[in-house]
Symmetry: C2
Subunit: 295 residues, 2 copies
């Protein structure tokens, strides 16, 4: 069993995921841009490293979950990055939701040094990270998948090997594209129902039983009805994901008009100062469009 | 127990619904624009009437399920229509998916003659109509709802009294608005995944377990993957419904940009000759937008 795992990125997700790995008996080598976010893990026995390069030098399998594509790029390809420290036989796994094409480019750099790459973005949010119930969408070779599976099992439940590097990210993008659609549908239905004077609890309960049924209606519509716009998943992260999907689609010469519109609506809601609210705040963009408080 | 029921509109839905009412022991007075669609019901004992007016004269409760708003208008308000034949104490119930404002206007005309109105659009398609498992969204007074409930129970399962006349239609509109969103999300995700080279069966199976989960992904995506574009629900009917929702929203000074875009995409797919295909054919509009066969 691989013992030495590197873990880079100790945000809300990374902190819980790495903590579970320590509990499962792995020796962790950690790095984060803001050092004090590693303090709790160091107390639990993790080794602090001053650079991603140092993590790559000491660990056998290096996991990353950072923020934006530029952060992924910096951690892997930047000065004192992973690629500088990596060596033959090691495996890197990017769990950030990022550009498929970026993870594919990183895989190439790693291959030149005899190391392997996987992309494995997750869904399930902070709760899933804490409870080890994340969905993990994986792109890598069969061999690398076998190596990583025991580690993934500590962090997630629904673990799917989707294909070669990039396939994990593309699956996550498909996931976000569906969510963009359901968010629009549910949000527009809520403002319509409110304006038409319907009892919205009753409306949601009724339509969720049929062809309109969806996770968003079951889980986010009730939050809207309570006026709860706190983040499960944050507007600015969703904007990032939609931006990546649209950029990748453009590279593939694919027009996705509905996703493009949804991103614009979320940009509007961010411009109103709701960037760190939950995605269900989309109803507020629709209210603004019609110039009135509806919900 | 009310015995004499009028039934106007013997299309795919109406034929099954009225047949179930006969089986349940009701005496039916039927009318349809195309007479021979009533033949099977007459053989089962239904009384043919030559006009909606005649139905209204003979039956105590009159159900209607026709096509477009203009058909509802004609059947109720036209020459030899229901309003001409109706009298004190009778109840009409429009089960067509139509304009809330139209059913409200009809209710007013009926009230002048001492008769009551309900709107009760359904969802669940031809299968639901055949098996008596429709969802029925009802708008009317409490008293009228109590009168109609035994009759609804023969045709449906999920029966909700949403409020006064118009509330049934508005709930159905909210239902269709959510579906418009999920159709866009799922269709764009499918063309994205296909173009990215993902195994689409695996992709659908994986993402349907999380926040992207929806009825459309579970029920229509598999049809697309089999190249099955036969109608569960027809494109041209969906265009009608979206048109009604947008028109009603406009009356309420409500902007629904995502629904408006979805309607445009469906108009494009209808223009390509797919008006009588199932709503899942939306992927073909996205293929056309990008000028290539993808799925």
């Amino acid at each position: 069993m691989v013992k030495k795992i590197g873990f880079i990125g100790l945000g809300v997700m990374g902190a819980s995921m790495s903590s579970r790995l320590i509990d499962a008996g792995y020796e962790l080598y950690i790095y984060n841009r803001t050092k004090n976010k590693g303090d709790a893990l160091v107390e639990k026995g993790a080794h602090w490293c001053d650079t991603p390069r140092s993590v790559a030098e000491q660990a056998e399998i290096i996991l990353t979950i950072v923020g934006y594509p530029k952060d992924v790029e910096e951690v892997y390809l930047g000065r004192n990055g992973i690629v500088e420290g990596i060596s033959e036989g090691k495996i890197c796994c990017d769990m950030t939701t990022t550009k498929p094409s970026l993870d594919i480019a990183i895989a190439e750099k790693l291959r030149e040094k005899g190391a392997a790459m996987a992309d494995a973005p997750v869904s399930g949010g902070d709760t899933g990270a804490r409870n080890g119930t994340l969905s993990i969408m994986v792109g890598c070779s069969d061999e690398v998948f076998r190596e990583l599976l025991p580690i993934f099992s500590v962090m997630g439940k629904n673990i799917t090997h989707m294909g070669s590097v990039g396939a994990g990210q593309n699956t996550k993008m498909a996931n976000q594209i569906v969510i963009a659609g359901t968010m629009c549908g549910v949000s527009e239905a809520l403002v319509y129902g409110a304006k038409a004077g319907l009892n919205l609890e009753k409306m949601v309960a009724t339509i969720s039983k049929g062809a309109a049924g969806c996770w968003t209606l079951d889980n986010l519509a009730p939050r809207v009805l309570k006026g709860d716009y706190e983040p499960g998943f944050m507007v600015e992260h969703f904007i990032k994901d939609m931006g990546i999907a649209l950029e990748e689609a453009e590279k593939m010469e694919l027009s996705l008009p509905s996703l493009a519109l949804t991103k614009q609506l979320y940009l509007a809601i961010k411009a109103e100062g709701h960037g760190r609210k939950g995605t269900q705040v989309l109803v507020k963009a629709l209210e603004a469009l019609s110039g009135k408080e509806i919900l």
